[in-house]
């Protein structure tokens, strides 16, 4: 009953619509950018004479992976942070949380249901985005084998070639792996939301915290800090696009992310369970 109620609230929320529209705009921009870049690199306007890029390199699968890579790092975590940030604080601010807690349902159950529904929504958006970009890639560019080169999007440290059918399987594997990674900013946002009373403040603080951690994990100056930041492990799904998947590395990063996610969730639940509603 609570789950259905939370799902209905999420469905009616404008946040989902906004996220969907933003993703659509992003895909259109990516498509234009990808097309013009491919034209330049293969149509005689290449900056360098000796380049590895050719017309077979730019296909629908490459488009999908480029689009997903940027969306994963820059859009999905922000959606996760705003969604999580608005959950508890939004209900506190609207006065509906106090009303909800007067019902004979445990606080832990309310909290975990909210998190489960938000997680499911996030995972579905990731799956839809992957499927959508693959479909658009097929229609607009056409599929082919997937070639990944060192230095490009930091996807790999050595050349990788995947046959089309194998590459599509890797996209399927990528879905749960990337969704797991996004649960960490979502759980962090729940933690911040459980401490805040204003959804705007909670969402803003969650987005800012993610961006700070992301930037720190990208700058060489902070090399020693990187292993301890969840943002360093988030793009671990890139390892699924290797010819031979290094499962040890995938599991290590997956365990770290799950650990961080559960830690934030436990702290958020502790705060939510013990706080006084006015």
């Amino acid at each position: 009953m609570i789950a259905r109620f939370e799902a209905l609230k999420a469905w009616r929320s404008r946040r989902l619509l906004l996220a969907f529209l933003t993703l659509c705009l992003f895909v259109v921009l990516m498509l234009v950018g990808f097309y013009t870049y491919a034209q330049n690199e293969t149509g005689g306007h290449a900056e360098f004479r000796y380049t590895f890029e050719n017309s077979s390199y730019f296909n629908g699968l490459t488009f999908s992976i480029y689009a997903f890579y940027f969306a994963f790092l820059l859009l999905f975590p922000i959606f996760a942070a705003t969604e999580g940030g608005a959950q508890i604080a939004g209900e506190t601010s609207g006065g509906t949380l106090a009303l909800m807690l007067t019902r004979p349902v445990g606080r832990a159950r309310v909290f975990l249901t909210k998190f489960a529904v938000a997680s499911l929504g996030l995972a579905l958006s990731v799956g839809l985005f992957l499927a959508g970009t693959l479909a658009i890639g097929l229609l607009a560019v056409g599929w082919g084998d997937l070639d990944l080169y060192p230095g490009v999007l930091q996807m790999t440290d050595s050349y990788q070639h995947l046959e089309q059918s194998e590459a599509l399987w890797r996209f399927v594997l990528c879905w749960p792996a990337a969704s797991l990674a996004l649960l960490v900013p979502l759980a962090l946002a729940f933690l911040i939301s459980s401490c805040a009373k204003s959804p705007v403040n909670a969402a803003g603080a969650s987005v800012s915290t993610y961006l700070v951690l992301y930037v720190v994990s990208e700058i060489h100056f902070f090399e020693e800090l990187r292993p301890f930041l969840f943002t360093s492990s988030m793009p671990y799904w890139r390892g699924l696009f290797r010819q031979e998947i290094e499962w040890g590395a995938i599991l290590t990063d997956g365990a770290k992310l799950a650990g961080f996610g559960l830690l934030f969730l436990a702290l958020a639940l502790l705060r939510f369970r013990t706080r006084q509603e006015s």
């Binding site: 360098f48 000796y50 832990a108 060192p150 050595s158 492990s233 990063d253 799950a258 650990g259 436990a266």
Partner: protein, 268 residues
Amino acid sequence: MRKGGHVELGLFLAAALLLGAGFGFSGRDRPGYELTPKSAEFLRVVTWNVGGGLDQGGAALEDESLAHVARVLNELEPDFVFLQEVRDRVQAEQLENLLDDDWDLETSPGGRVVVGFTRTGRLRERGPRQERLLRVQHDESGIHFCAVHADAFSSRERNAQLGALAAELGDLEEPCLLLGDLNLDLDLGKRRDLFTDDEYLDVETYNFIAQRLVDAGQGTGSTAEPDRRLDYVFVSPRSFEVRSAGPWRSKRGPGMDHDPVVCDLVLR
């Protein structure tokens, strides 16, 4: 304890287990070359930029460092050595005198030369002479070497020079190596830095070479300060099996900013 408390406790325990597993498995990945006794089964090739770092004004090899360089090379017992940033041929000959055994040497034209040494046979020049590029062929094995000190300041120059060499070597039937301080910084170790400029341009050049030749020391970490991989040994894939390769760490002399990069190869 209330029900919610049990849930929290379970979450904390699961988080601790998973974080323990995640951090317990990961170690610092900084592999490099590990010296093994030299045998006749494989060839040992060394490339080393022996010049001074930028804090030394980017100077060529100092005479005071000759003994150190010779000591490192004698310890390695290589078959082929290619050095960049040697002051001139005279200094190269001084170094030769400090090495064990008899060596044949060739140098590139101009100043701050690229030097090639071999312990067996002779190195014969091949192709037009260019500054900071030594193209030689070993008379006994037929191996074709292109030792380069690529432009440090222009990714366009690097692309033109290294791309042309890779295109040519990739078509050759004979065994060949493209090696030296290629000045390509790709951040392959996922070092990542938001504030770089030439990195994506060097990606073009590196991948063009890697489509034709094998990067022998791939995944072995940085070779130069500050934490950059600039020195490479690329080998023709059909002719060689790479036994081990990478930067031999802690062997820099005073003021130097590059590690020697060593590659043990089996000629097929």
